[in-house]
Symmetry: C2
Subunit: 257 residues, 2 copies
């Protein structure tokens, strides 16, 4: 099956912290030249597509909003596919623009979109969401990460614990749309209108990128940058189809697909 689509993780593949991976922009240009459909994948839930595009353009990579695929975009694709038009948004303001095509309501939503509200998660907000779930709304969470590091508090609660709290209260399993959920990759395929076998995922994270994509049948390439660790190569439960040094090596590899 010829390669038609390419899913590129951002952090750890195209850049690392503030630094661009050498040759990243050139590699992306070469892959584009091969006529591949591209999506830039990120698990960020705090920045809008526009902000991500601005960052990419900043480091010399041409991109348009429609090519950035994030949990918020996965959520939209999922909601549209399941005919859920009335939403209650419980997510950072930066993500609200992404749901402009939906009807945003305070009462009787079909789904609640849950993003990381950080200190905004207080009893009243959680209780408000719980009551909407108890009344029949579906809980759609942008991810379910347990904890994160923040400058102010160090190790601290991420979105996941609040997803778990609401799932337990409402006796309902949330739809998790961020990596490594299969839904994330399935919705990316739907967004590109491609099948898994026509597509390759390139990532640094053995679990979130490689494991997640493999689970839906997408071919995988792990780069040895970012979150790559030498011990990833010893793991036999999750193994990418290929490993390359950096994104710079991708055009040569992709030519052989």
């Amino acid at each position: 099956m010829p390669l038609r689509g390419l899913l590129l993780d951002l952090e750890g593949v195209l850049y690392e912290g503030g630094r661009t991976i050498a040759g990243a922009a050139k590699a992306v240009r070469a892959l584009r030249g091969d006529g591949l459909i591209l999506r830039f994948l990120t698990n960020t839930t705090t920045r809008s597509r526009r902000a991500i595009v601005a960052h990419l353009v900043d480091i010399g990579i041409d991109a348009v909003a429609g090519q950035v695929f994030s949990p918020a975009v996965a959520a939209r694709t999922y909601l549209a596919a399941h005919g859920m038009g009335r939403l209650f948004l419980a997510c950072p303001d930066a993500l609200r623009e992404g749901f402009a095509d939906f009807e945003i309501v305070d009462e009787d939503p079909q789904a609640v979109i849950l993003g990381d509200l950080y200190r905004g998660f207080d009893w009243d907000l959680l209780n408000t969401v719980f009551q909407k779930l108890a009344a029949g709304a579906r809980l759609v969470a942008l991810h379910k990460n347990r904890y994160t590091r923040r400058e102010a508090e160090g190790l601290s609660l991420d979105l996941g614990p609040f997803v778990a709290a609401l799932e337990y209260a409402a006796e309902q399993e949330a739809v998790i749309v961020g990596k490594p959920s299969p839904i994330f990759f399935e919705m990316a395929l739907r967004d590109m209108d491609l099948r898994a076998v026509e597509t390759v995922m390139v990532g640094d994270d053995i679990d979130a990128d490689i494991g997640g994509a493999r689970d839906v049948g997408i071919r995988t390439v792990q780069v040895r940058t970012g979150k790559f660790r030498a011990r990833d190569e010893a793991r036999t439960d999750i193994r990418p189809d290929h490993r390359i040094g950096t994104i710079r090596d991708l055009p040569v590899l992709a030519a052989g697909f």
Copy 2:
């Protein structure tokens, strides 16, 4: 094995809402006269032992604090049995007096006691508890009820969702000390210094009272008051050893044990 101990649920067995069950005080006096060791069991996590005793005395039932067994008392018994002396309390003020024999600390606790803080559950409190769990403290929760009804909000979050959130964040299973946890009944036995086979549990709730006590091998009597429902009699998965109309019928039944 002769009967030596009696576990009596309160709400639904001795009283219902504000009303005392007819003959309750007389029945308790008769059972006391038989020389049984008594414990009054309640799942309340908002009232202190003293407040519960005051209520019992009010309705004509002599009781002393040491005979009231609640999740907070179960927690104390559990902590003492497991050599955990340094505690961080995240529970209503009314319960603090119950932990007077422990060292209450802000830093480096061996266990965190979690009660329902209602609106007190905000991000900062939850994050503080999470950090203590991540540093090695055990999470001891008074119960794990999903939701409750409150005058202000109607159907609303109970303690359970916050237990679930912290368990998920810290990748740690909480010690649940309230009914129907087996720990609740095991600690009541330890408190009475009796074995399960020497003891009878009398309750109205087929799951929390009857199921919980049976799980640790305690004989059970269900009263047809309080939360008793006719459909309880059709259940074959949880079945009490005996059913009686009300607590008033207990002395006669107990004489036959």
